[in-house]
Assembly symmetry: C2
Homo-oligomer: 327 residues x 2
């Protein structure tokens, strides 16, 4: 088995090669922003998951590299278009594409990326290609559905916890699940194996997003990288906020709703006020318990995967890495 | 053989069924705008071409219906995103999606449409599916490249005629070519047949776009539907303008460039002034000759297609229908 570090290095080299190729392809205004988007880096979690899942069944992980690129390019496409929609000017301390270039270039480059993902995927030489393309299309559409639900929630105050969990399943978890299943399919694993990995990825993905919500409020500012409290400032309907609205008594609920309704406020004051409501209501511990539930559910699936423990150990390491991150 | 009318009716029924399904799918804000986009109609030229090409080789054209839907949905996706980029508020006398809903919904619905196109395509049951998906991805990416070249040309004054022809090949012609080839592949036609139809569609597509440029300046206003002269007003680098810049003597060229540079002008005055320069330079006849060249090239390919004349007659009818339109 390759270690996660080795897979990260391999993914990073492959992406660098692609960026070089893209920077030399015409029209420049279409392909250079794509190279720029891919160069912004990030965790490369999804392509690593593709290769790791492939590696569970075969030593030859090169056959899954096109699929790993496909999913990373698709993921970066969603970030690119999300940044336009959210009017987010910065990503990972660099200008978003629609700021560095312009909005039209950002729309069109994103469109091209979503098509390029299929081009990469088609380079996989396996009898499972049809299944992989079908899974990818279904997943990609679900990610769009998740993004739309997320936008719809902005103007709704009555979002329920199950609705929220369904939204993050679509927006975040299915692509992690798809990454693992795709790697397994590229290695010609059985459908049953591929499906178990999918369910493992789904549970892990929901835990991953809940962890994200939690870090946005309670992370250590020095390690976190971006500004803490962004979700509170923008009234994002996260698990934490929805749970707080559910558990608060009438005066606390009024206080919370007042902060949400305020058009003018001191940012730091709002963050601290909402955080202290969360603390009073034990929201941190409740969220951690919910994360633990999904994580435990993933571990149960992991146990079911019919492979030697030493083979599947790296998968568990990855899960723990995701759960123990501080940014 | 089915007549073009019959194919149009079949396509229209299939699209109506899809619209109904989309209008009942959640999230509403994602799928309803897609149904709205598809309901705006238009010529349905591309799906008709898919079915017509399929019908050249088999009576059972139902097997090409998913591919016909795929290409129509993709085409409408490009119109939807183009309208955002061009800030065009109306399409076919109805509000563009980004006006009727909002820009974020228009971006995301378009993203979903481009993925849905693959979902439709995958429903085709043929051994050629891999080829069809590969062709579709290549074509879709070329359409993006064509759109980027088109946007790049806006800020360039030194666009050459070959550059322009390459741009319209990418932006318009390859999708018509792809439609015919896809229909042939769905019918399990030979690669050689499929390739001939592709080349036929490419020539026809370039003639089609040049015809579009011509109609925008010289159509009969009553039959044309939209306002004549739009390309002149917006200084679009069409074949007509590029040819006029190439052929004009220094004073005429200066007059043309002055009109292009003017920030404030009477719209009707500009249209008439530029049109009279075109008339003086015989641009209408020169464009018609160029259209005729591409049309003739398409007909030569048609002659080469090894099918009975009565079988392939409908293909010729379609070509003539496209060339003799007045809107």
């Amino acid at each position: 088995m390759h270690t996660i570090k080795e897979l990260e290095k391999l993914v990073s080299e492959e992406i660098d090669r692609e960026i070089l190729r893209l920077n030399n392809t015409e029209p420049k205004n279409l392909y250079e922003p794509i190279g720029y988007t891919l160069s912004m880096g990030g965790k490369r979690l999804r392509p690593v998951m593709v290769l790791l899942a492939c590696n569970l069944f075969t030593h030859d992980i090169t056959k899954a590299i096109p699929a790993a690129l496909a999913i990373e390019v698709f993921h970066n496409f969603t970030l690119l278009h999300d940044d336009i929609m959210d009017k987010a000017d910065m990503r990972r301390n660099r200008q978003a594409v629609h700021k560095k270039y312009n909005e039209n270039i950002a729309i069109l480059s994103g469109d091209a990326m979503s098509i390029m993902a299929y081009n990469y995927l088609q380079k996989c030489e396996t009898q499972n290609l049809g299944k992989m393309i079908g899974l990818f299309s279904q997943t990609a559409l679900e990610v769009c559905e998740g993004q739309q639900f997320d936008m719809d929630f902005e103007s709704r105050m009555n979002v329920s916890i199950p609705e929220y969990l369904n939204m993050i399943r679509l927006k975040t978890a299915v692509l992690l699940a798809c990454s693992l299943k795709t790697g397994a399919l590229a290695a010609n694993a059985s459908d049953q194996m591929a499906d178990l990995l999918y369910v493992f990825g789904l549970d892990l993905g929901i835990a991953f997003q809940l962890q994200d919500d939690l870090l946005d409020v309670f992370a250590d500012q020095e390690k976190f990288g971006k500004k803490i409290g962004g979700d509170i400032v923008s009234n994002k309907k996260t698990f934490l906020l929805l749970k707080a609205l559910e558990l608060s008594d009438d005066p606390t609920k009024k206080e919370l709703l007042d902060w949400i309704a305020k058009k003018e406020f001191d940012v730091q004051e709002k963050i601290e006020a909402v955080r202290s409501i969360y603390t009073k209501l034990n929201i941190k511990e409740i969220t951690q318990m919910c994360i633990e539930d999904f994580y435990q559910s993933a571990i149960n699936v992991w146990t079911e995967i019919d492979l030697a423990n030493e083979t599947k150990a790296e998968l568990l390491l990855l899960a723990n890495m995701i759960m123990n991150r501080d940014h």
